[in-house]
């Protein structure tokens, strides 16, 4: 018995020591992993959080293209595509379709919420100063708004979650987070985003606007003013939308008047980087310039004038860092899966344009088509996202294993067309027509050499007051105004102006803007939203249904009429919301 009691006591004591010790054993901080309580110490941690969010955002690139373009009328699935992609294209999406799951969006949103929460804590605890807080908080806030706008576009009614949750599954609590209709969601987003304290880009030289791994980071971040412009455009507040877009158009109107001053975001010509569609000898179709001009919009490196003046928002894929380039898999028949191709409808759109006459009549197609897609091995291939991977003339990879590329999100043509869309709706038809066609000077031409009262809209108030006066070298008085180089989207692409009947400027110009979106910005991830916005605004289901019907018909997709019938009901414009 004595022996037994000794054992008993020993066991008992050991148990006590063990339990008491537990607390300490499990409380040791991991040495190689960063614990959440230590993650936000100073401004560098805040920067890391911002960059981390954008890293995660890049994982949505393929989904962004698939939802925004494959649902539209310009992109089609190939024989390699699976049932899920076919469903997206034919608007018959089942609840189990992984591309239709909102979960990846909400994972990013939850992360954004977490960062926003901690930024507030850091600011309250004075670990970052007010300016640092404002810049980062506004950036992540605007990105979250951008993602919510995407959700609203594709799902119609979505829960609006702004609190930091541990994981996405908590967001499924329907009672806590009711689904908001799109219109209400837009109001919430406008209220939140308009109140963000900082709306410019990160200042040059600040931690987040420097050069990292050879990439200037200025264009990595969402443009808050564009997001605001978009929100107001969707909402139908055209004055406000135009105001925000105009501010972005004027971003370079500062400092010394140089090439960037006149051309960045102004669609102005510039020495060496004019992004024209040109022929080295006008009229000789075989001399189309490939190695300069419009095509290199999709090839030029970060930091180049070409990229800086054209692009507002573009993120890099580089084999040196994650995530991998998901767009090569989508589009490339060389070392990719070639899942998506241009639709015949898109190809026809380019073929139905006429260029400006040279050596007689016109070339009967839009050369932007030749740059946007080409045949490789007999297959039509979307090239816009591949020019950093495949050589444009040989179609061979520059380096098969280095799958570099860019995720192109927003550029000056998007900006000008959305501004024009707002201006057109606000009654400024000629202004919208000018920006779309041959530029401001083309829309307000001068009969003589004195341009004082021409080439401008200065009689209008902001944001419709442009000054594009150019007196030429001999004109008196002499003018070289801020917008004098603006040439218009269709003149830059060498296609003829849209003719507007006097009877209906509004709809003709709006239709032309949407049509131009297909010619200029095809496959860049804005097609379906453009169609949806106009269809909602006009309450005209056939605007969408006819276009998707035409795509299905021309590509030989079975039951095109059924697709049209489905899309005539606006309830079918949205994906099933299934976590």
């Amino acid at each position: 018995m004595k022996m037994l009691s000794v054992i008993k006591w020993t066991v008992f004591l050991q148990a006590i020591i063990f339990i008491a010790g537990c607390n300490k054993i499990f409380d040791i901080k991991p040495e190689t992993q960063l614990d959440v309580t230590n993650a936000y110490q100073n401004v560098y941690d805040a920067d890391a959080a911002v960059v981390g969010i954008y890293g995660k955002f890049m994982g949505l690139a393929d989904r962004y293209i698939i939802l925004n373009e494959l649902r539209g009328d310009l992109l089609q699935y190939t024989d390699n595509a699976d049932e899920n992609l076919k469903q997206i294209s034919t608007h018959s999406v089942s609840e189990t379709n992984p591309y239709a799951s909102p979960r990846p969006f909400y994972e990013l949103i939850i992360n954004c919420n977490d960062v926003l929460k901690h930024l507030k804590i850091m600011y309250a605890e004075k670990r970052i100063n007010e300016q640092e807080f404002n810049q980062r908080y506004s950036d992540i806030g605007a990105l979250r708004t951008f993602v919510y706008l995407q959700l609203g576009i594709h799902y119609g009614q979505v829960p609006y979650i702004t609190s930091a949750l541990e994981n996405v599954d908590q967001a499924k609590e329907a009672a806590l987070f009711p689904k908001l209709p799109f219109a209400i969601l837009l109001d919430s987003l406008i209220n939140f985003t308009a109140a963000l304290p900082y709306k410019d880009i990160y200042p040059v030289g600040s931690n987040l606007n420097i050069t990292v791994d050879g990439y200037p980071t200025e264009k990595f971040y969402v443009n808050k003013k564009v997001v605001l412009g978009d929100l107001y455009l969707w909402k139908g507040n055209y004055q406000k939308a135009a105001e925000w877009y105009r501010q972005v158009m004027e971003q370079a109107t500062i400092g010394v008047q140089g090439e960037t001053y006149y051309s960045q975001y102004k669609l102005g010509w510039a020495g060496g980087h004019n992004h024209y569609v040109t022929y080295s000898r006008a009229g000789d179709a075989s001399t189309l310039v490939y190695n300069d001009g419009w095509r290199i919009i999709f090839e030029q490196p970060y930091g180049s004038n070409s990229l800086n003046r054209e692009w507002v928002w573009v993120l890099p894929f580089d084999n040196k860092f994650k995530p991998e380039n998901s767009l090569i898999k989508l589009f490339s028949p060389v070392n990719g899966s070639y899942l998506l191709k241009p639709s015949n409808e898109a190809i026809d759109k380019w073929n139905n344009e006429t260029q400006r006459p040279a050596q007689g009549n016109s070339i009967p197609y839009d050369a932007r088509g030749l740059f946007s897609w080409k045949e490789i091995g007999g297959k039509p291939v979307v090239m816009k996202f591949l020019y950093n991977y495949l050589n444009y003339s040989t179609n061979l990879p520059l380096n098969p294993l280095v799958k570099n590329g860019k995720w192109y999100l927003f550029r000056q043509t998007h900006l000008h067309m959305r501004y024009s869309e707002a201006a057109n709706r606000a009654g400024k038809h000629r202004l919208a027509w000018g920006l779309l066609n041959s530029g401001l000077a083309g829309a307000y031409p001068s009969p003589g050499s004195d341009v004082t009262n021409y080439h401008n809209t200065l009689s209008e108030s902001f944001p419709y007051n442009f000054d594009a006066r150019n007196s030429g070298n001999t004109g008196v008085p002499f003018y070289r105004s801020d917008w004098y180089r603006n040439i218009g989207i269709r003149l830059r692409a060498n296609v003829t102006d849209i003719v507007v009947p006097a009877a209906d400027s509004l709809n003709t110009i709006e239709n032309a803007l949407i049509q131009e979106g297909a010619l200029e910005n095809a496959f860049e991830g804005t097609r379906w939203p453009d169609l949806l916005r106009v269809a909602l605004r006009r309450n005209e289901p056939s605007f969408i249904a006819d276009k998707i019907y035409s795509k299905a018909l021309k590509d030989g997709v079975p039951n095109a009429a059924g697709i049209r019938a489905r899309l005539m009901d606006p309830n079918n414009w949205y994906l099933p919301f299934k976590w």
Partner: protein
């Protein structure tokens, strides 16, 4: 203590149990359960008494060692009874034997379920055999899917003879018609080909490589290169061989279209014109061949079944011996469409004044590309087009020329044989005319292996007077 020893015994027993259990588990996992997989295909044939003759042939040809190796094979083995009356010539000739035995072995795995749909499978002798609904050529599979470690064995009820291919038939068979065969064999010539050449030096004057004698060319047949390579086992062809009388009749029929300065050249050219349409790609057996087939060159070749004298199956298609094949000249001599932008040469380099224009034709509603040479400043500037093998015929000439680049009309002409030819005068190019314009007709009195036509500008250096513009030139034989 008793407790402790009990515990010890328990622990040790547990360990031992675990150990033995493990051993059993591993051996089970790796054991060969299927006894037939211990044998290779050759073992399997050896163990099958009804295949002893085939086994003997395998040993004789050396294929026994191949079938014992660790690749994957499919063997279609004929039974002893079928091999009883095998030609002794095959057994005595090692080459023929290898060919024959190899025709029963494939280096791919084909189970019977994959032999039910029609297809062609490659055999070890390089030839292909047709398979369909459980048969390989005429031999039906009587016992299927006997599998072994390195392949699968099917027992078939017939031997599968290795046939000649189409070219071997033409060159070897005594039954092939003499004249056509002689002509086809006469098409052998040496062709310059450096792919296997040995460079022995560099010419100090020209810098060109010097090749070792005999290595810089290949001895090849024109028919293989220009029509079909009838030796290719991978493809299938249908060949028509004309009996001598029919051959002569057909060649004589075409001689008038190939007038030259001597009869030999005329015969050769006419023979080529006849023979090039007598081969089509694809195997068309008697049951499925149409009464007209289209040759590689677009010629309609009539096939009258009554004229088929003999049908010979080859390893890569079918040879028909014909009593008559009456190809009409209007089917053989098709129109020539010359795309004007694809010119062979220009009289003066004026690429800087040459525009390849893309336009929409309002008459045909189709896009087209044309050529415009404007402001070249050369009197009688011309573009040359080289046309191959133009027969002795009368032709009608047309063009499409779009004058949309100036408000004045101008003239240009078609030069036949020479830029300054007077066959045609200058033709006015009207404004904005998208339609075809008839130029006139001309006759070639001699067969022209290579013939030049020219698009010639006005005899002026004035830009508005001397442009050249053309979409295409069309030459239609008058027959």
């Amino acid at each position: 203590m008793r407790n402790r020893s009990l515990l010890f015994v328990f622990t040790v027993s547990c360990l031992l149990f675990g150990f033995f259990a493990c051993k059993k588990a591993t051996t089970d996992h790796n054991a060969v359960k299927e006894s037939v997989l211990a044998n290779n295909v050759f073992d399997l044939i050896t163990a099958t008494p009804e295949l002893s003759s085939f086994r003997g042939l395998l040993m004789l040809s050396g294929y026994d060692r191949v079938l014992s190796s660790s690749k994957n094979f499919t063997v279609f083995a004929p039974t002893n009874k079928e091999l009883e009356n095998l030609d002794t010539a095959i057994i005595k000739n090692p080459l023929k034997l290898t060919l024959f035995v190899g025709n029963h072995i494939s280096q791919q795995l084909y189970y019977s379920n994959s032999l039910s749909t029609p297809g062609r499978i490659q055999m070890m002798n390089g030839k292909y055999n047709n398979v369909a609904s459980g048969k390989i050529e005429d031999a039906a599979i009587t016992k299927a899917d006997l599998y072994a470690s390195n392949g699968v064995l099917h027992i078939v009820d017939r031997k599968v003879t290795a046939l000649d291919n189409c070219w071997e038939y033409i060159s070897n068979s005594i039954n092939a018609p003499v004249k056509q065969r002689a002509y086809m064999l006469s098409l052998f010539q040496k062709v310059f080909d450096t792919s296997h050449a040995v460079i022995v030096g560099i010419d100090p004057n020209t810098g060109d490589p010097i090749y070792q004698a005999g290595t810089d060319s290949v001895f090849t047949n024109l028919f293989w290169n220009k029509v079909h390579d009838l030796r290719d086992e991978k493809k299938q062809y249908t060949i028509f061989l004309l009996q001598d009388a029919a051959w002569d009749a057909e060649v004589n029929k075409y001689k008038p279209f190939f007038a030259t300065s001597n009869t030999d050249s005329t015969t050769k050219a006419a023979s080529w014109a006849v023979v090039k349409d007598l081969s089509i790609e694809g195997s068309f057996p008697l049951t499925s061949i149409q009464d007209t087939v289209l040759s590689k060159f677009g010629t309609k070749v009539p096939v009258e079944k009554l004229s088929i004298v003999n049908t010979i199956k080859t390893s890569n298609g079918i040879v028909y011996i014909m009593g008559k094949v009456d190809v009409q000249p209007k089917h053989k001599f098709l129109e020539t469409l010359v795309q004007a932008e694809n010119y062979t040469a220009s009289s003066v380099d004026r690429r800087g004044n040459t525009y390849f224009r893309d336009r929409f034709n309002t008459a045909t509603s189709k896009d087209f590309r044309d050529v415009l040479v404007l402001g070249h400043g050369v009197a009688l500037f011309n573009l040359r087009y080289q046309l191959p093998e133009m027969p002795t015929l009368k032709y009608k000439a047309y063009w499409v020329a779009l004058n949309d680049f100036q408000t004045a009309t101008f003239t240009q002409k078609l030069g036949i044989g020479a830029a300054a030819s007077t066959t045609f005068g200058y033709t006015t190019v009207a404004l904005n005319n998208y339609n075809e314009v008839y130029i006139g007709e001309f006759t070639l009195t001699q067969y022209q292996p290579q013939f030049n036509i020219y698009l010639t500008a006005a005899n002026s250096t004035t830009a508005a007077v001397n442009p050249l513009v053309c979409d295409y030139i069309r030459l239609v034989p008058v027959l």
